[in-house]
Amino acid sequence: MITTLQQGDFTTIQDGGRWGYQAYGMPIAGAMDRYAYRMANILAGNQENAAVIEMTDAGASFKFDEEQLVAVCGADMQGKLGGKPISNWSSFFVPKQGELRFDAVVNGCRAYLAVRGGIEVPLVLGSRSTYTRAKIGGYEGRALRQGDVLYVGQSSAAPAGPRRLPSQCIMQYTPEVNLRAILGPQDKMFTSNAIQTFFTSTYIVTGQSDRTGYLLRGPKILPHGKEADIVSDAVGLGAIQIPSNGMPFIVTADHQTTRGFAKIAYVIQVDLPRLSQARTGDKIRFTSVTEEAAIEALQHEEQIVHTIARQQ
């Protein structure tokens, strides 16, 4: 078992998400940065969908009862094992009674700690992800607190030993984030000037950003006529909503499944991890891309992930 020595800023249990229930108003939740999450599980020798610990901004600290193989990917939170720095984007053994400590983030903002066997919390509708707003899933539906004890599961995908991810597979996080986006479904509600503004301006990430989404500040995006609201319809991961104040809001893991705001475009799936690592004050720019380009990017990423998964 693993004991939480310090809880960090916002630490939750997440997996690939609670898919299949958006028709019932159930958000997907799950790891914000799917790339770092998947890599952490692969390096730890876990099944694709194993539950991990997601840390935000300032990381948590844990004491391990037994020796465990763990992996850390994502933002660099200056991890230390027994006082010695660990390598980010790698797997390594934590010895019996070992203490793994994480601190303030140096780049990015979300880090993933995977333990071989996965974090064992009850499944809720097939997922171990935490949706804190409705107190569903994960560790009692909430963020971890000092003293919380976590159990490790038995299942794992493959024999695994300490490994480092090749540097070309490590995602770099910069304070200037370029997000590729596909126009639609309500792009026709906006003037061509508005769309040009959207793709040529620089937006700043505001502090009102969390797992629900990123609120941006910058040149307003205005609709034809007065109303940009629509009859409420479904909203998916990466949707860029434009409410009446013209400020873009990009929805992420914990987003509401339906909303009455116009959606000018969708961030492509492969760029969501980079968005999930953006911090308050970072700059965002949007680039218009086609569906074909988005799918190509997806295929490329899948190839990388599968190559890493096949190696031992």
Binding site: M26, A294, Q299
Partner: protein, 253 residues
């Protein structure tokens, strides 16, 4: 037969989403088409479809573009659109879910305000609210929260200007021309006229969600004693939900 094909729009929602807009307004007829298309898609069970989300007047399909191409999905949807039929007038509702509500008093602190605003007595407000079933157009906002249609004109009360910070879970309210209940504690702008001891979402239940899009909700007036009895049963997991199913060529619950 085709159903007003010129009103139907197919839109892209990212590389993994396809939206089928079946109309422009909130109406039971358009919603019936939304429900039909949703059910046809779910029955078809095409590999690569991740989710089918019905809303007021569109169906959104989320799919894995590496498993299923948009062309193939579009072809399937066009085939299914050809199978849609306008809802027959007088067709009985498919599933009516009875939701017990204790009105007024501590559990419905705004009932008297609503009575005063509408010019009805508190009893008349309750009678009007429980008079007939409300269509569940869709779920959203929070797990299990139903968007209900059909609130009687005489019960319409503009939403609160200053929302309450804490609306208790189960609170039944009216706001504008909407009615419904809050599945979880949250902020809220509705006038609270009562409370239901039922949980809109309960992962322990065999059917975790109380209602689904296309169901009807019938509120039932109960006393405070029944409220607590039912609440105990709900917590113990032994409460039996009252549901009436219409068998018009479809399976019962």
């Amino acid at each position: 037969m085709n159903v007003f094909p010129q009103d139907i729009k197919l839109q892209m929602a990212g590389e993994y989403g396809l939206v089928i807009e079946l109309g422009a307004v909130i109406s039971p007829d358009i919603n019936a088409l939304v429900l039909q298309l949703t059910r046809l898609l779910l029955e078809n069970n095409r590999c690569g479809i991740l989710e089918v989300v019905p809303t007021y007047r569109s169906v959104t399909v989320y799919f894995d573009p590496l498993l299923l191409s948009r062309e193939a999905l579009t072809e399937l949807i066009q085939k299914l659109l050809g199978q849609l039929q306008p809802q027959e007038i007088g067709c009985l509702p498919s599933r009516v879910v009875y939701i017990p509500v204790c009105y007024g008093g501590v559990l419905g602190p705004d009932l008297d305000f609503v009575a005063k605003y509408t010019g009805l007595s508190a009893r008349e407000v309750v009678t009007a609210h429980t008079a007939k079933p409300y269509l569940v157009y869709m779920l959203g906002f929070t797990p299990g929260f139903p968007y209900l249609g059909g609130l009687p004109e005489k019960l319409v009360v503009p939403r609160q200007e200053t929302p309450r910070n804490k609306v208790p879970a189960g609170s039944v309210g009216i706001g504008g021309n909407q009615t419904g209940f809050y599945p979880i504690e949250s902020t809220g702008e509705w006038w609270l006229i009562g409370r239901t001891p039922l949980k809109a979402f309960d992962p322990q239940r065999s059917n975790p969600f109380l209602v689904a899009a296309g169901d009807y909700v019938q509120f039932v007036d109960i006393g405070i004693d029944d409220y607590f009895t039912i609440r105990r049963d709900v917590t113990a997991g032994v409460y039996r939900l009252e549901v009436v199913t219409c068998n018009k060529g479809r399976e019962g619950e």
